[in-house]
Every structure is written in structure tokens, then in C-alpha cells.
Symmetry: C2
Subunit: 318 residues, 2 copies
Amino acid sequence: MSSYAVGIDLGGTNARCALINDKHEVLARNRCSTPVAEGFEAVMHALADLVKQTLSDANIEPLDIRGLCAACPGPLDGGKGIVIEAPNLKWRNAPVAQTLSRLTGIHSILENDANAAGFGEFWAGAGQGCDSMIMMTLGTGVGGAVIIDGKLRHGPSWTGGELGHVVIQDGGRLCGCGQRGCIEAYSSATATVARFREGLSIGWHSVLSEKDPNEITCADIFNAAKDGDDLARHTVEGTARYIAIMGSNMANLLNPDRMVISGGMIQAGDFLFDIIKKEYLKRPFETPVKHMEIIPASLGEDAGVIGAAGCVFESMLR
Amino acid sequence: MSSYAVGIDLGGTNARCALINDKHEVLARNRCSTPVAEGFEAVMHALADLVKQTLSDANIEPLDIRGLCAACPGPLDGGKGIVIEAPNLKWRNAPVAQTLSRLTGIHSILENDANAAGFGEFWAGAGQGCDSMIMMTLGTGVGGAVIIDGKLRHGPSWTGGELGHVVIQDGGRLCGCGQRGCIEAYSSATATVARFREGLSIGWHSVLSEKDPNEITCADIFNAAKDGDDLARHTVEGTARYIAIMGSNMANLLNPDRMVISGGMIQAGDFLFDIIKKEYLKRPFETPVKHMEIIPASLGEDAGVIGAAGCVFESMLR
């Protein structure tokens, strides 16, 4: 059977495509901007062109490809291959898998983007060698994926892995979802910046005090923390603490092998992960907590396309 | 292949044994007190006698039995069949499975007691018809089980399903495990009583005010709440709220089909579950939350022995 798969990672701004073999090597890749304004069919044609270009770059025919997987924002129904709703793509009930199959001549499946990135790390990145892995992505929000016994946990509604809305502080900070106390309202990049600004607003001094508060980024805060700024350090310690809480929650509940963290802030490296580790390892219970390491993702922006292709190989085993 | 299995549910006070067929019917059952003070070998002999008596009651030979599973308190290593530590049995590294195999002539395996009860409900009780189910047991502590795609989630350390130590209130109430804010410190029967007593201690009036605070039970509080007592009602609403939070956490993380609640307080029936439901259904996200019902367990004290026997049948499929 063919050992090639195509992975697509579709966002509201850009789309990426890669041809990948079953040893998770990227043989060719391309990207384009997503023509959201032109509608669903135009996006599908742009993706199909991207696929054709990528196969042509590698001199491989559609018939040589085992399958294609498009990683899309959700909610979606992977069983039916339909994106149910994607506000940033302006889609509702969009038949992605069927349309891509028709336009490319390659059997196509659909996966949630956070799940695809998680599966990418599991298959080819920081989660290699695990049987079970939790992915937590810290960006504007908090996304994630749960992989158990080598399989992504989709669940019957294809909503499994929504780590961001696990409540860790009942009655606490208001989350974008309307609930109070979600981990997303504490440990996302956005929440980290918000907590820092709140410190400034109550008069805490910082090297960033002179900056326009609306221009302060998560990277600014991490840099200031490294330079010994008290408020920045306090803010980063908070973020690390919430990651550690999520870590022990996952360790106790699911006893996974690893928790992989992705998102811009992992560029802080050991500076961040040492604080997480210190906070995490003192939590109960010793056995599952010690078993599950918390480490940074390793694939960067490739996680989505590699993971999508990995889902093609994995879906054959279902 | 034989369609009979033996389930044992071993506690620090009593041991139960049942002969069960693959339609989860109980054909015979017995119980005895656990001779903890006489040591490990004595307990094993007592269990073996219980098994022999049970088979004899049903006129079935050991050779007709597919297997035996002992549900024991943990931590334990089910792969090796060893209870690593059980304070209330005064055991350390106790080779339960091997010893029971030798004494009964029936191939024996070991399972965590909370997992066995969860699997019992999944196989034969409130979780029938599900693919995935969360069990949450509210007693002195909070125990649980996670079943995904029909399989108990043990994890490599056999510690999966420790729901009780998921943090839902960072920095909150001190839990017996040393961590603050665990669900166990809020929604267990013990915590429910503790929260009620705290209300009394700050001067809240209740119909139970005249009782010795140390004698107030969880059942007293539920009864008073039904009778319209303000503090009792407030306390029960708190317990229901924390169960609902755990429910939405599980729904978002794992998208299971059902969450089953066990423990003495489920005797309050609709009075409790209506409050849980009201609190739960307003939480995000609608799709997984609506999909996962929260309902009471249905097997009562039989869950452990039935689940243990179920684990015998399930282990053949692994």
C-alpha cells in the first residue's frame, strides 16, 4: 500500500499543504493565503491547486497517495467530513472531505486542527514513543488534544480534547465561553497578558510600565521576567502554575505518558519549563505525576500538516 | 468458551464474592468479614473459601469458570497482579492474583475497586449501551473510573480514573491528599458534611442546629434540604454545583456518553439530580454537554462484584 499522504492545515489567513511519507518526512510543501471572502468553493479550489502543485513538486501522482486529511477549525463532524461551523472561514455545514476528494481525486478525510497538531507531535514530534499523550496549545485561547492508546479521542460529537474549558477555578476569571474559571482564562497567551495588565492597573511597577498597555505582548512579559522584572515574573509563575495544575489533573485522571505544550510562549524554553516542573512535581499523586513529563512541542508550525497526514495513516488502522 | 466468571470485591471490613454469567446475571453470592488482623495469607484463604462456597452453591466446578477478578483498594499493578499498598488491609506488594490462582485453581486477575465498580455500571448498570463513561463515586473521598471505547483507562501506572484529585478550585479547600481545591474536598459526602458544619459554625440557623455537629450525616443534610432548610439546601446546591463542574470538565475533555454518580447521596434521587442537571446544562459547550447525561448508578453494592466479573470477560478481549 502507498506510503504517502497529504496533510492540509487550513486557517482563516493561510493554508498549508505538505506531502509526507509514513516515516513522517516532509517531501514537499506549499502554502497560500486562504481566499475566505470568495466563499467555500473558492477555498476548496485553492486547496486542490495547492495539493496538485505539491504533488507535482515531488513528481508524485494522486493515485500514489494513500489519502488526504484536511485539518480545519471546528466544530466539525469528522465521520461525515463536514465542518459544522467555522466563524473565521464563514462556513456552515461545509462538506470539506467530499469536495476535496472530488477535486483532487484523493480520498480525503477531515480532522479538527488542534487534534491534528496534537497527533503530529504524538507521531513525529515531542510525543514520539508514547502510547498516550495530552497536547495543550496556549495561544489566543487554549486548545488541545487527548490521545489514548495511540488514538485521538474524538468522542461521538467530535469535540474531545477541549482542554481549554476545564474549570480549575470555580467562580474565577470570566472566559470567552461564558463560564468562569476555565484554564483558558488563566494560562492562554491572551490571559497571561491580561493578568499582567491587571497588575499594572493596580499600580505594580514594571519595566514595561512605560509601554502602551495595549501593545504589551506575551513575549514582552517573558523577556521582562527573564530580566528579573517582578510583575512579569509573578505573571509567568501564574501561567506556569496553571499549566502545572492542568498537568496534575490530566495525570490523575488519565495517567498519560506525556503532556506536550505548544504555542509561542514555549520559546521561553527551560525558563518556563523549569517553573512548570517545580510547581507540577510537588502535586499528587507521585506515581502518575512522575510518570508524565511536561515538555515543549517540537514541530512548530509543521505540527498541523504532519499530524493531518499522520491521521491518514492512523485512520487506516481504525 | 465458558460463560461464567467470579467477581470478588474486597474491602477492609467485608469481602463479597459472586458467580456471574456473561449476561451479567448473578447466579450465586456470598460474603464474609475480612480477617485483616490475621494477615495476607489468611485473607487469601478466606477469599478462596468464599469462592469455593459460591461455586458449590451454584453446583459449578472451577474448570467451568473463565476467570476470577479481585477488586481491591490500590494503588496496585494490575499487570503484575500485585496490590502495591493498601493501608486498610495492611498490605504492601501483595501478590493477590497469583495467590488466588493457586488457591482456587481459577485464573485470577486484579483490578482497582473503583474501576471495577465503574466497569460494573458500564457493563450491567447505568452505563449500559455506552461506548464511553465516567464514573464518579462520592463517599468519604471521591473515586472514579474512566471508560473509553469500552475499555477501562488504567494507564501505564494503573492509576487512571483518579477523579477525586482533579483541581476545580485552585488555592481552595485543603484535600486529604495535601493539594488545595480538589473536587474531593468539595463534593464527597465528607466534604458536604464539612461545608454544612462550617455554615453552622458561622451562625447559620438550621433545623439540625440542635444536633451534635459531629453526629450530623450527609443523609441528615439531604433530608433537611428536602424539608426546605436553608443551610442544608445551600449545602446540597454546592455539592450539585461541583458535580456539574466535574461533568462539564469531563464532557469537554473526553466527550463521553454518560457520567454515572454513585455513593449514598444518590438515594436523594431526582431531588439531587434535578439540581445537578440545572447547573450542568447551562455550561459550555452545548454539544458535548447535551450529549453526556449525568445519572445515578443503578447496581448499588453489587457494582464491585459484577464489574470485577465483567473485567474477566473484558480482559479476554484485550
